[in-house]
């Protein structure tokens, strides 16, 4: 197990290889479909102004050399205090159109999700020195336990699953499945299983 503390230095990311087990501690931010589209349309395509600028500054503080978690959690609210109850990863491939731009824009060192991402993101990980980390899909109660504190939530009007949740995690475990050197477990698995499929269909 490789222990990493957020924010992460570029040098530490370059050392990571597909198959490495990683334990993360520090602050990360959840962002999924609506959030990625929003970042693209309100930050990247135009200079953020007013409230958007405030949101950008806050996110940048946590995301530069940081990590985005593709997650739409179940969160309990008790007198304004939030607790993560269930927080597994969501399917990452839906962010494929945006991910590389978002990595570049914030200077992200990684994204956590499930199912892997495509060629565009793999290239982005190489160009901007970041990794794709795979958490266990559905292991939501267990992962929820590694979220020790909710530091804040932004754009809750997007809905509970889609908001930006700023969280402090301890011993958040995941596996590197796409590294900054162009390797992807997912790409390998598609090729390998395609070979098996062709064999089965030839029968």
């Amino acid at each position: 197990m490789i222990n990493l503390t957020l924010p992460i230095a570029e040098g530490d990311i370059k050392k990571l290889k597909v198959g490495d087990n990683v334990s993360l501690t520090g602050v990360m931010v959840t962002a999924r479909d609506v959030a990625h589209k929003y970042i693209m349309e309100h930050f990247i395509k135009e200079e953020p102004q007013g409230k958007d600028k405030e949101l950008f500054d806050l996110l940048y503080k946590h995301l530069h050399d940081g990590i985005i978690y593709h997650c739409g959690p179940v969160v309990k609210e008790d007198n304004g205090k939030y607790t993560f109850l269930a927080a597994g990863p969501t399917t990452s491939i839906r962010e494929e159109p945006y991910q590389t731009d978002v990595i570049k824009y914030f200077g992200l060192r990684g994204v956590i999700g499930k199912g892997g991402m495509g060629d565009k993101t793999l290239q982005g990980l190489m160009d901007h020195k970041a990794v794709y980390l795979h958490a266990i899909g559905g292991a939501a109660a267990l992962i929820g336990k590694s979220v020790k504190e909710v530091l804040g939530v932004e754009r809750l009007d997007f809905g509970m699953p889609e908001a930006f949740w700023i969280i402090r995690v301890e011993d958040f475990q995941c596996v590197v499945t796409m590294d900054s050197h162009g390797n992807s477990l997912h790409k390998d698995m598609i090729e390998r299983s395609k070979g098996e499929l062709d064999k089965l269909l030839a029968q």
Partner: protein, 289 residues
């Protein structure tokens, strides 16, 4: 009669307590996976999570899904009444964090916050001749719903004709396309025949069968076993990390088809197969399995 209380209990149980047969098959497959493999370790984490969710009454998965209900009710009961009470139970279960708010307006993008919306929950009412209710609930996540697929036979690229061999060919391609995206290892519900919509309903209904049962139709039982064994040769494995366990089960149902159509519809249920069946008697007593 009080519908709301048993409905709430059914939702809570489905969200937090994975069916025993699904746990058993994952334990069995975990033992078969290679020592020190990713597959074994992933299945171990999954089973730890299932235990924790049950003990602490937490949602097994944060995606508590689109709420699917297939309801069988005795003659003389109002489906309007049932729908109203079901909606109340869903609102309460959302408040109690057994459900994540998952109903989003397509036009405005606004989440209703309580899981109630147009077509949400998705309910099928069926009147029957028995004197009790059977309420079948499935909490099925969006990721697994996204990898569902419908084929129409023949399909020349797959050399799939209008027969059971053709069915097998397109289902195997469907499993390949799904990779780990639907949270493998999954259970396949397959509907053959019907119209397009009916075929999807049929495929989803199959998922209420126990993982290890076999179709009462001998030919379909053979096909279910054949597809399961073949799909597990693809090597996709838990989470798509590689391994022996790509699927946990295959369940096939059929409808009569129109002479011109031959639909094969696959609904993929993730390993967190949160489906429960409640028998509700008219005196208010109920059992959940």
């Amino acid at each position: 009669m009080d519908f709301k209380t048993p409905m709430f209990e059914l939702i809570k149980d489905a969200s937090t307590n994975l069916p025993r047969d699904v746990i058993d098959i994952m334990e069995e497959m975990r033992a078969k996976e290679e020592a020190d493999s990713n597959a074994k370790s992933v299945l171990g984490t999954i089973l730890d999570n299932v235990d924790l969710a049950k003990v602490e009454q937490l949602p097994i998965c944060q995606d508590t899904g689109m709420i699917f209900l297939d309801i069988y009710y005795p003659s003389g009961f109002s489906t309007l009444m049932m729908r109203k009470e079901i909606n109340e139970a869903i609102k309460e279960a959302t408040q109690a964090n057994f459900l994540r708010p998952n109903a989003v307006d397509v036009v405005t993008g606004k989440n209703t916050g309580d899981n109630i919306g147009n077509g949400s929950p998705s309910i099928y009412f069926n009147e029957w001749e028995k004197d009790y209710f059977e309420i079948r609930l499935m909490l099925k996540g969006g990721g697994s719903e996204n990898v569902g697929i419908q084929y129409k036979l023949p399909d020349s690229t797959l050399k799939a004709g209008r027969d059971l061999d053709g069915v097998k060919r397109c289902v195997l391609e469907g499993v390949f396309k799904a990779q780990g995206l639907g949270c493998a290892p999954g259970i396949l519900g397959i509907g053959i025949g019907g119209d397009r919509g009916g075929s999807y309903y049929l495929s989803k209904k199959q998922l209420f069968r126990k993982v290890k049962d076999a179709s009462p139709d001998k030919e379909l039982a053979v096909l279910e076993k054949d597809i399961l064994e073949s799909a597990n040769k693809l090597g996709i494995g838990p989470m798509g990390f590689g391994g022996l366990t790509t699927l946990l089960g295959v369940k096939i149902g059929t409808y009569h088809r129109h002479p011109a159509t031959f639909f094969v519809t696959i609904t993929y249920l993730c390993w967190a197969g949160r489906r429960k069946i409640m028998t509700l008697r008219q005196d208010g007593g109920y059992d959940i399995d």
